[in-house]
Amino acid sequence: MTTSERSTNYRVIGTRPVRPDGVEKVTGKAQYGADVRLPGLLHGRILRSPHAHARIVAIDTSEAEKVPGVFAVVTHRDFPAARDVVQELGESSVNAMELSDNILASKKALYRGHAVAAVAATSPHIAEEALSKIRVEYQVLPTVLDVRDAMREDAPLLNETRFTKELGGARSEKPSNIASHIRFQGGNADDAIAGADVVIEREYRTKMVHQGYIEPHNATASWNADGTVTIWTSTQGAFSVRGQVAEILRHPISSIRVIPMEIGGGFGGKLPIYLDPVAALLSKKSGRPVKVLMSRTDVFEGSGPTSGTWIKIKLGVKDGKIAGVKAELAYEAGAYPGSPVGAGSMTMLAPYAIDNFQVDGYDVCLNKPKVAAYRAPGSPAAAFALEQALDEAARAIGADPLQFRLDNSAREGVRMVTGAPLAKVGHEECVQAILDSPHYKSPIEGPYRGRGVASGYWFNGGMQSSVTAAVNPDGTVNLIEGSTDIGGSRASLSMQLAETLGIRYEDVHATVVDTDSVGHNDVTGGSRTTFASGLAVYEAGMDIRRQMRERAAREWNVPADQVEYEDGRITWSDGAGNSRETSFAEQARTAPQKGGPIVGKASLSARGVGGAYGTHLVDVEVDPDTGKVTILRYTAAQDVGTAIHPSYVEGQIQGAVAQGVGWALNEEYYFDDNGRMLNASFLDYRMPTTLDLPMIDTILVEVPNPGHPYGVRGVGEVPIVPPLAAVANAIADATGKRFTELPISPRRLVEELHGLA
């Protein structure tokens, strides 16, 4: 279902054509990183720390190097000294020293699965045999695995030289695992809460979870004789890989070419790099191309999941309005600083107009993998906490939970906790869409059945994009772009170009090319690609239109500014009966004779980003004997700006809801006391399957983004924000018990409902 505020009628936008990469993918021909095969290719494997916290006393690789078939062994000693500089990765940033240390540990292994050495050999079997002959002497240290424990003064320190960055740029007196403390403050939260009719005070916890992309990380590198390096890899941003590898290896950026392969999912987890510099060094040492693949266990233990969290909320309501909120958020950063606690702190209150607030965030290091971005990073856990507190508050005052949200909703002009005023946004429209939905109007009846709602917000991103659009003589256009296509962007970009030029979608051929073949593109992340690369595509299309109008004007000997371009027709009229007409197809066909090739180009740093809201509604049934939760019905309303390709927008929403439901019900990193993840496989890391979810209904609420010619807002991330809280609220409604800790697994439910814990 779609509700739309837009006035324009589009020809291509809003239709549902087949994606250009679809046939290759369903026939198995699409080339992924693991498919790379080169003459003389060696197979690289990584040795990982069996300890969650240990000093690396010595590494002896001599026996491994003697194994026949082994061509190279590398450790951190082979990396150049890294610089203490920060690189932006789109939705996260990384310090080069810490990135280098995470890719191959230097002095300490900081989590189980931390890479310590790598081998390249003629077969994977030989490489694994060689790994078993590397002798690492560890001095095992006490581990800290809980975010609250890690904040204690007596906690084992991951880094003895790290101090807390306190408020106002101050530094803590003693070293600490708390990397930073941030605060957002407005009005007077204490006074507002003190004067409230109803106060809800709760603590919430969520567990470390993984994005669960199907394709494991991979990298193939060839260090060429002339010092250039070619890397084939699965990434959300080829240019970002190039930049990170250049920094880690201190190699000129212009000497590195990154070829992005098809990607089997990322969700933020393929923004950082893990294997690429290792493959490159192994190739440099061996003189042969080297391919390194992760196993699923490597992915769980050695890539970047998202933070487990502890959140405390105190919320006061007076006269049906949220009077004030105090919140503390502590997010696990993993082995190095960089949790998304900042984003969590900034998004938590964003759906509402709240004058009095104090939000404190803590970025906390502990002996778990360094977290990476995961779809609206930081926001789902924050919403899990706030939206449950709101649910309790609404119940306490006898208000309908949706009406309560509507009465307190943010809207254009309301200031976020950062002080920035909101542009035109669609939260109220989302809540209203759910209020009006057949689902909400249907009854929810029966024992142990319940209904829950929740809202969420995500900023979305802009950043840099470059595209080239080359017009072919047959009236088609080759769209050369550099944004990893992770969610149908070849289609959504082609559609915007077709719309701009007034040609058919089928006549645009989009290709994602390597870093030597197009201008800089930032990562596919932050829900930015259809928006920002779409903006570049629009401008490249306008560039083609301008060139065609100018050619026509020259030919007709009329001023170019009197020549119109509309729906692929190029026309001039003097209003006195004289007129001329040509077309895009005609200009394309005659270009060789009339001035040569027509190529549209655009490079930009996108402004005008439109944030996105979603409101979700879910019905559940709980089996009180087994604790199993069945999702009976799910409806997600979302402000999508303009849905370029509605099917792919719906797919983004449905996929995010599936991940959110998994996060709510079953997914968690389950560690033993020594920091070993016991469920590092898809058997025991329980993501939902298609049999665990009903059809997820979507309501596309179109409140066009004024910052984009077609009103595009990012759509891929915000739909993972509400599900955790919506499901928890529904379970509370079904059971009469409030679950403040994730996952709300059968174990937790049955133990609580039967008093077993």
Binding site: K628, L683, D684, T689, V750
Partner: protein, 291 residues
Amino acid sequence: MESFEYLAPRTLAEAFAALGNGKRSLMLAGGTDVIVQLRENRRSCDQLIDLKHIPELMAVDIRADGGLDIGAAVPLAELYGNRDIARRWPGLVDAASIIGGRAIQSRASFGGNLCNASPAADSSPSLMAHGAVLTIASAGGTRTVPVDEFFAGPGRSVLQPGEVLLRVSIPPQPARSAVFYHRFIPRNEMDIAVASAGVRLVLDESGDRIASARVALGAVAATPIMVPAAAEAVVGQAPVADTFAKAGEAASAAAQPITDMRGSAAQRKHLVSVLTVRAFEHALQRIREGR
């Protein structure tokens, strides 16, 4: 994974010869466990002996006496795909149809599932409820072992070096009886049992009383276990909720589960009671519906 040799003997004699050649052997009756274990370096071998080309291990025989012989390497999909088997032994299909997905079921076998000896294996409680008997062969001859006595611990069975599990035999089932097996998993498919229960319910001639019962539980001890106390609790009683509840209590009392990533001990003790009660209810329904 280290490299190993792959052998595919065509006869039992060839298999025994290979087993006796002094190399470290593992057997493959489907490979859905052993290949994964090799790949994850949880097991290693010099040679992997594929049993799927030996006729005796791939045979299915519905016996004239009403029993059923299943070759140890027969794929699960072949069992539930056989209409006679599906109709007459629904309690086997309960297990065969939930081990992995369709692709796994086209390779995996009861024999492999038993020899892998996971306490959580789905085939075990079902076969134990049926009173299945295993035939084990070696170069020196054959012997039989009731499936209840096959397991020695997690990943361990009474199978000795040089021995091959030949077939699983289901004896003729009593009149007015039915077997039902199910498990609890947090998801709806593609999961491993947190706890499981297989029961056989036998009614007397009147149909009003329970003549006998067998109760087997999975994932609540180091091996799948029989719970005679749960059976004794229902014999001679009417097949009603109160009776089944007593069996559930006995099952819970017999369970000695651990806490791990799949569930807690308290949860499992609770679950086997629920699963036992529900299994009896489903078995009773099968009898009543003449299945």
